[in-house]
């Protein structure tokens, strides 16, 4: 499959059509979806209509937009009007949202063709897609391994060539970790850069929508389209979206790259080797390397597993069998609420709801949730200090290459540790990008992570592009 950049260019020039590109994408989905379980729903009818609209605009001499005719896969926690949306949960089986997420409206306005909804850990709670109520997704690089998660379906859609682009959401690493495990580019933008309107909420102060792509350029193209202020999301940043493509070849000459001890410690040797190689590549491109320690990162996992479940327990209170989704009948409304939630939620979701309920309950609020919010302040200040000495930070994305199914399901804490290097950025609200760099055990891909201060996406993409070039990508 061609790059998104190439497809949009050719569709705009009239040398290919949106319908032809959609056919290519649907053929790839038909060939592999049964084996990999990437899509929960393929919206052939809606995609066909969107592609026809693009082709009609081109025929009429009009410009359909920056993503003209590019097939895009959507994580199934993004609401799309009239299209089944489950968030990977039984409790939303059969639900068709009455409105579309802002990101989907922006995709359509830019000429993109949404092709369907991808598998994910239930309500984005997981790091492997194994908590999905609809079975796990398989990693296209090795079907015996997990694709990572929670946005594993969206990562697999791009890694398998089903679509050149996809959208995921990242609350504690749910875009970057699967990107690393599937060998593609994944971006967690600055909190508030992309509207969350229409994203099914998990932990609202941490959730952020972002792109998956096969290249840094394609990721920048997609992020430019979806970012920017939205009055429908009150946490959306007020300023206009940054220009990324114009700065893609800015390089890192004269920049200071900080290698963060806490963002590599405990990683497997193959991952460490990739981080070392990335460090050398950035240095070769003219960056100055500084070694840094941000000890607060060690508290990130604990703070995250109090804050995110606390917010989730509140957000998921809405699934009560009244307004949408599943209802299990019972004699009165309270019994109906409880029967519905007990039947509709899976074990990981129940675990996190209970953890959050406990952290917020009388007598424990100050000791757990209140303390975690203060640690978050310390994390933000620690990163701010680090950025006095570095322009960009470098670390690992995940501690290991893609792991086997079942390996981390028995003990929740071992699964949670998959996100130990990605969580600090979500707590800080800052952007980060995972770029494939080298390979590890079994020839599986390794991702390295670049981090920057809030709103520094342009610089981050330029640094990511340096790594991509060092990798031999034109």
């Amino acid at each position: 499959m061609s790059s998104a950049t190439q497809i949009a260019r050719d569709v705009r020039a009239g040398t290919t059509s949106a319908l032809a590109q959609l056919d290519t994408s649907l053929a790839a989905i038909r060939a592999e979806n049964d084996a990999l379980n990437v899509f929960l729903h393929v919206d052939e009818e809606g995609a066909d209509a969107a592609a026809r609209r693009v082709d009609e605009l081109v025929a009429a001499g009009e410009d359909p937009g920056a993503l003209a005719g590019v097939p895009v896969a959507l994580k199934d926690n993004l609401c799309q009007r009239g299209v089944p949306t489950t968030a990977g949960s039984k409790i939303l089986a059969g639900w068709r949202p009455p409105y579309s997420a802002t990101v989907i409206e922006r995709l359509l306005a830019a000429g993109a063709v949404p092709v369907g909804k991808t598998n994910m850990d239930e309500f984005a709670m997981g790091s492997s897609t194994e908590t999905s109520a609809y079975g796990p997704t398989r990693n296209p690089r090795n079907p015996e391994r997990v694709p990572g998660g929670s946005s594993g379906g969206s990562a697999a859609a791009v890694a398998s060539g089903m679509t050149p682009l996809s959208l995921g959401s990242d609350t504690g690493g749910s875009i970057r970790q699967p990107a690393a495990l599937c060998g593609i580019v994944g971006v967690k933008p600055t909190y508030g850069l992309v509207s969350r309107y229409g994203l099914i909420a998990f932990a609202s102060s941490l959730d952020q929508i972002g792109p998956f792509a096969n290249s840094v350029e394609d990721a920048a193209l997609l992020l430019e389209v979806i970012s920017g202020h939205d009055p429908m999301d009150s946490t959306s940043l007020p300023e206009p979206a940054p220009s990324l493509l114009a700065h893609l070849e800015d390089g890192v000459a004269g920049k200071r790259v900080g290698v963060v001890r806490e963002l590599v410690e405990g990683a497997d040797d193959d991952v460490l080797a990739s981080v070392d190689a990335a460090r050398a590549a950035l240095e070769d491109a003219g960056a100055t390397i500084v070694e840094l320690s941000i000890p607060e990162c060690r508290l990130g996992l604990s703070a995250y597993y109090l804050i995110a479940p606390a917010e989730a327990s509140s957000n998921l209170a809405r699934y009560d069998g009244v307004r949408y989704g599943l209802r299990v009948d019972a004699e009165d409304v309270a019994a109906m609420n409880e029967a519905t939630r007990t039947a509709g939620f899976g074990a990981e979701v129940k675990r996190r709801i209970m953890l959050g309920t406990y952290a917020l309950s009388a007598g424990y609020y100050d000791a757990y949730y209140g303390q975690a919010l203060k640690v978050r302040t310390q994390m933000i200040e620690a990163f701010r200090r680090a950025y006095l000495n570095a322009d960009v930070l470098l670390g690992a994305t995940a501690p290991s290459v893609a792991f086997a199914f079942g390996e981390k399901m028995a003990n929740p804490l071992t699964m949670y540790l998959s996100d130990v290097f990605t969580i600090p950025t979500n707590l800080a609200g800052d952007p980060a990008i995972s770029v494939p760099f080298g390979s590890g055990a079994g020839g599986l891909p390794v991702g390295v992570q670049l981090l920057g201060p809030g709103r520094s996406e342009a610089q981050l993409f330029a640094a990511a592009r340096v790594l991509e070039v060092a990798n031999g990508v034109a």
Binding site: W95, P97, P98, Y99, Y191, G192, S205, S234, T235, L299, L301, S302, A303, Y305, L306, D320, G321, V322, R323, Y324, G325, L326, D329, E331, V333, A334, A335, M336, N337, A339, R341, T342, F345, A347, K350, R351, I353, M354, L355, T357, Y358, S361, A367, Y368, Q371, A372, L373, K374, V375, R376, T377, Q378, I380, N411, P412, L413, A428, G429, D430, G454
Partner: protein
Amino acid sequence: MAPGLSREDVAKVAALARLTLSDEELDTFTEQLSQVLEHAKDIAALDLEGVIATAHPFGLVNVVREDELCASLDRDEVLAMAPDAEEGRFAVPRIMGEAP
């Protein structure tokens, strides 16, 4: 801080969260939630007197807009997705007991 949760703690939390747990689930969740809280003890033990709590990373507060009429979701489309509806409203089983 209690170094672990009791079965009774978990049963109470499940009731607050409107979840029914089997005896077996109660055992499993008690063990698993205790492990996570054990990990979180590093935070509970910190002296953070005077540190301000963060709810939004960039400090946006009280975002308001003009109180203008604008389109809302289509009522029929919304109710069509509800488990039960009647006369333009969501319908639920009885909330109150029978009249005495």
